[in-house]
Every structure is written in C-alpha cells, then in structure tokens.
Amino acid sequence: MNKAKWPAFWFLLPAALLFVIFFYWPLLQNLYLSFFSWNMISPTMKYVGLSNYIDILGSKEVYKIIGNTVIFVLIMLLFNFVLPYLYSFILGHLLQRGKMFYRSVLFLPATLSLAVASILFLWIYNPLAGPLSIVLAWFDMESPRWFKENLLVIFSICTIIGWKVFGYNLIVMLAAMVAVPREMIEAAKLENASNWTIFRRIIIPMTSSTAIYVFTITVVFGLQYVLVPVNMLTQGGPDQGSSNLVYIVYQYGFIFFQTGKSAAFAIITMFCYMAFLYLKNKYLEKKVYYEN
C-alpha cells in the first residue's frame, strides 16, 4: 500500500500544476489587479488600495445587481432544476409509450449554441414582427417589451437559457431516475401508494445525489451562461435590469476598461459563490443519500 502511494501522487501532479498555473495563479493576479486603477491600454497602473471595493460596496448599483442575480438563480432553478426533475420522473416511471420520441425532442435544443438560441429568441420575442406577438394579437393582446422591462427581461433571458440547459439536465436526472430499483416501486404500488407518495418517499431520496449535482450546476454554470444572451441582447439593460454579477465583471473590464473595479467585482462574485457552496454543504449535503 505504502509503495503505491507515490506513483499515484506523481500521476496527478501535472494536472494539478496546470490547474495552479491556469486557475489559481490568475485568481491571485485578479486579486492583485483589484487594488489598481488601470484601463488595459495605459502603460502605468495606479495603486488605489481598497478604494475599488469601497466604491462598489458603497454604490446602489451593487445591491440591484445582487438582487437581479438572485432572481436569475430562482427562475433558472425553476426551469432547469424543478422542471427537469418532474419531467424525468414522468419520462422514467410513468410514461408508457414514446419514450425515445420525448427524450430526443426534449434533449435536442441542448445541442445548439447559446448564441444561436439568443438570436432565435430575439426573433420570437420581437414585439412587432415576432411569432409570439402574432399569437398574442389573435387574443387582442399587445406584445410586451420582453427585453425592455425590469424583471420581465430576466424572465425572457432565463427562457433562453432554459431552452439550452433543460434538455441536458433532464437526461442527467433521467439516468438517476431509471437507476431507482423497479422492485421498490412495484412493491410500493402493491401497497397502493400514489404516484406522489412514490415520488416523495422513494424517488426524491434515491435520486438526491444526482439532484444535488444538477442543483449546483444549475446555479454555478447557469449564471455563467447568462453572459452570452445578456451581452448579445441587452448589454445589462434596461437601466441595469438584466445586469448581474457575471455580466458586470465583463462590463467593467471590457466595456468601461476599468479593470481594477472589474477585478474587485470578480472577487466579490467569488465570495458569493463560496457562500453559496458553504450553505449548500452545510444544509443540503447532509440530507443527500450516496449509494457508495
């Protein structure tokens, strides 16, 4: 045993080094950058101490942005976590016919790029010429300005991301669903348990390890996905209505060329993620059932 320890260590080292170079080193660089004022062009960087952080935390902007981010996360959890959960249960245990059909149809959008999805939805949501506005017109309703109203814009962007992510999360959840032993469900059915009881008492506990994975990627990746449609369609607008912790880092860095503030926002974002992971580990992880 003792001998075998070292080769394993050496085998992993190159990968770990790559991580250190391309992940932890930039992180430190980013921290360093957050104490400066620099426009990416000027040859001199000005040291400003903590003033980037003080500016950010003292502004109204940051609270609106954190609020938006929370709303993004909540809507995305609905589209990309709760819905796939329910659908995968239906697909895995209730549906008798057309399993392959539904599986492929629901997964297909996941293969398209987010940029393509964004352009598609820009058309769908067009308030004058889009298909949705035509459908609404049948009912004598006027199309709302999907990308120009507070809150509505977050919903609209979340549908784009949902369209892209839903299918993937569904397939992952489905794999967990079909791994639940059939005998257990058959036994429950013999006892006259309702579908809801089966879902609550058997499915949720048995699939919880996958569910927590999907939950986490929905939050962590989901927020990163937000960057593409926001940058393409709204640039954070209207009046920062769709701005969020990820986009604001990009906006300060590559639109305002205030790399110091951008870096400070990035550090703040990282702390938010860390808080999320801490809470998740503390409160959710305990309830999860791992088979091994």
């Binding site: 426009n39 000027s42 300005r145 640039q235 607008g237 009046d239 990009y250 305002f256």
Partner: protein, 436 residues
C-alpha cells in the same frame, strides 16, 4: 465564452504581430541601402468583411504606382481598442507604425497619451507645396472633427458616417403620406408616426438603441442642447437643460402614445425590414445592409431638424494619424495619405465600407463618387448633411465610458416612461458629474 474568445483573439493577435514584425525586419535588411526603398506601416481595423479587401487593393495599387515606397498594411482586431493597445506597445518599443486609423471617440485619449507627429508642421517641412492641402480640400467643420478642444489638428478625417432617417415608402403610401416628401422636422416625424399607426396599424418610428448615445446626441444638439459643457476648465455633463429634455421627451411621448417603438436595436431593425415599422433613425452605415435585406425599396431622408434651429449631426467613423519620426518615412507616409484621401481611393473605400468621403469635391469628381451617388439617392441624402457635422461627444477621463453607460441607462428610463426626460436627465447629469 466571450472571455475565452477575447483571449483567443489576443493570442492570435500576438502571434500575428510576431509574424508581422518578423517579416518587416527581414524585408528591411534585404532592401535597405541598395535601392533606398522606404518601407512604412499602415495600421487599420478593417476586417475582411468590412473594407479589409479594399485596404489590400488600395495598398497594392499604391505600391505599384510608387516603386520607391513599400506600404505594409496591418489589420488590428478588436477595433480601435485593440489597435490602441498594440500601438501603445509598439511606441514603447520604438517600432511605431506610420499611418494609423483612429476612432473619433478615441480623439482625446490619443491626443493626451500617444506620441503622434504633428501634421501641419510636418507637411510644411517635408512637402511645402501641400501646405494648404488640408484647408483647400476639407470643410472646416470636417477638419475640426480631428482637432482637440484647443484646436490642435491631430489627424486627417478619413471615414465618416452620419445618422439619417430610413423609411418604408410602401407604409408611407398606405398611410396616405407622400414617400417623395419625407418628414423634414421632428414635428412632421411625430405626426407622420401618428398617421402611420392610425391608418396602417404599423408602428411609426424607432430610433436606434445601440450601446451609445450617438443619435440621441444628434437630436439633443439639433434642438440647441449639448452633451458636454466646459465649466472652469472642467468638462461636465451639459444635457441637464430644457432643450435637451424637450428633444428627449418628444421621443418618449411617441413611445407613450404607441406610435414609437422602444426595443433592442436588432428588434427595431428586424421590425423595419419585415415591413412592420415606418421609420428608423440610424446610421447611413446600415444602408447597404438594409437595401440588401428589405423586401421594399429602402429610402432615406436627412436627419430631421427642429423648426428654425440648426441641424447638428455627430460624425462616426475614423481619422488618420501619423507616427513616423524620420524625414524619409514622413515623406512616404504623406504620399500614402494623399493617395488614400484621393477621390478615386475614397470612392473605393466608400463602396467597400459604406462610409462617406470626408473631402470636398469627391461627390462631383468624375473619377470618384459621382457614379455611385447618381445610382443611389440614399447616399446623396447622407452627403447633404456633411456641412452640419459636429464632434461625437465623449466623456473624458477614466470613468468616461461608464458615464456613457449611465446615459444609456437614462434612455431606458425615459423611453419606458418611468420618469420624465427632464427628471431623468437631471439625475443622470448629477451622477455623471460625480464620476468625472
């Protein structure tokens, strides 16, 4: 995703820069001394799909006509920001290019931070016969575009775009409006938009909502307002005035009355191209794209005026700056500038990009623009506003671009009717003044 792309682009740029400098130095060695061929570098931002082929064509033609000069063109990705970054690095290492395209919004930054060569003194020294070249060939207001606030000519205007009013003649006819007599004033725009909505059910008007305030500046300044003001040597937000508010309120009221569209830029253009929108106020740079994509005949009118007030349209595009230090290179660079600013070359450049030529007389020059203009009335319309060109206002300092964003946010507040124009502009001016 974007970050990764940016990074990839940067790496690519670095790699290509190495290749370029590599080629450059070996060229110098092979040609140096013997036939005294002067080599100069021309940096531009014209990608393959936006004028890049025209740049190559012009450079090749110039090199063929001038056996003693060799121009090397270099494309800089990521527009003027990318170019400025490369330029700063090049100047720092002493390998500066000679002729460079620079965006109008970088004018102040370039004047304050780059070691450029002063144009007029250079001309007087190296090419005294051309000492009146600038004065004779350019309108004074066009020349002023490339001047700093203290009147220093830091470059020569090269590419110009102006905002115009595109309209759909079919919708005009259906609404009982005369497509050959488009609205000339904002009052007429408002009533035309109303008529379009009432008679055809289509939306009347949309003003571009890009991530800048270019057209908004045009309407504010045409109503006698201003974007910036100079107070005791400090630049401040100048749009907290009744004139600016009235101009903006006019747009907001059209949206409120249901005759004007408030949407993302692409949505507005889509709506126009699919025949659901009567008028679009945007750059002449969209002309070729509109004409190609629309199912109807795209027609343009000059940017509308306010009755009895002077029309002011901000210039988009770029100007040329000179960075050569030694006399031979300066002479060669001046030859090259004169060539690409010649009527024929400008006509080619215009065709390749959609920009308007900055020079006087290109429009009537038989070798220049004339044929194109005769064939396309929309270009003629845009050209007619050249005497009304003003500088594209840019907020100074490190927070300038952020200030621009605040004004974009104000646009959403005003057009969505959340606050009146006067209120929103006042609040935004205060915020911006704190930043500057």
């Amino acid at each position: 995703m974007m970050m990764k792309k940016k990074l990839a682009a940067l790496l690519l740029a670095a790699a290509s820069a190495m290749v370029f400098t590599g080629c450059g130095s070996s060229d110098n060695q092979s040609k140096g001394g013997v036939d005294k061929k002067v080599q100069i570098e021309y940096w531009h931002v014209a990608s393959e799909s936006f004028g890049g082929t025209t740049v190559k064509e012009l450079v090749a033609d110039f090199n063929a006509k001038h056996p003693n000069i060799q121009v090397v063109e270099k494309y800089n990705p990521d527009m003027y920001k990318g170019l400025t970054q490369n330029l700063q690095a090049a100047i720092a290492s002493g390998k500066n290019p000679d002729v460079v395209q620079m965006g109008w919004s970088y004018l102040n930054y370039a004047a304050e931070n780059l070691k450029y060569t002063d144009l007029q003194p250079m001309i007087e020294k190296q090419a005294p016969e051309d000492k009146n070249f600038l004065k004779e060939n350019y309108l004074p207001n066009v020349l002023a575009l490339a001047q700093t606030d203290d009147g220093k000519q830091i470059g020569i205007p090269y590419s110009i775009s102006v905002p115009v009013l595109f309209y759909n003649p079919e919708i005009f006819t259906a609404a009982g409006l005369d497509p050959n007599n488009p609205p000339k004033t904002w009052k007429e725009v408002v009533s035309a938009a109303k008529q379009i909505k009432e008679k055809t059910g289509n939306m009347g008007f949309f003003m571009q909502e890009y991530a800048d305030n270019w057209t908004q500046q045009a309407i504010i300044e045409s109503n006698g307002g201003s974007m910036l003001k100079n107070e005791g040597g400090k630049v401040k937000a100048g749009f907290d005035t009744p004139e600016a508010a009235a101009a903006y309120q006019l747009l907001a009221d059209m949206v409120k009355d249901g005759n004007g569209l408030h949407a993302t830029n692409e949505e507005g253009f889509q709506a126009y191209l699919s025949g659901k929108l009567g008028m679009v106020c945007t750059t002449i740079g969209k002309r070729a794209n509109f004409e190609k994509s629309a199912k109807f005949k795209v027609m343009a009118a000059p940017f509308p005026q306010f009755e009895g007030k002077e029309l002011k349209v901000p210039a988009g595009g770029n100007f040329l700056m000179l960075f050569s230090k030694d006399a031979d290179k300066q002479k060669a660079a001046w030859e090259f500038i004169k060539y690409i600013e010649s009527p024929e070359a400008l006509a080619k450049w215009s065709t390749g990009t959609g920009y308007l030529p900055p020079r006087k007389g290109v429009a009537d020059d038989p070798n220049g623009f004339k044929k194109m203009i005769e064939e396309n009335k929309n270009i003629q319309v845009a050209l007619s506003t050249m005497p009304n060109l003003v500088k594209w206002a840019s907020f100074p300092g490190a927070n300038g671009l952020q200030a621009e964003q605040l004004l974009i946010d104000a646009r959403d507040i005003i057009l969505s009717g959340k606050e009146t124009a006067a209120q929103a502009l006042h609040e935004t001016a205060e915020k911006i003044n704190n930043l500057l």
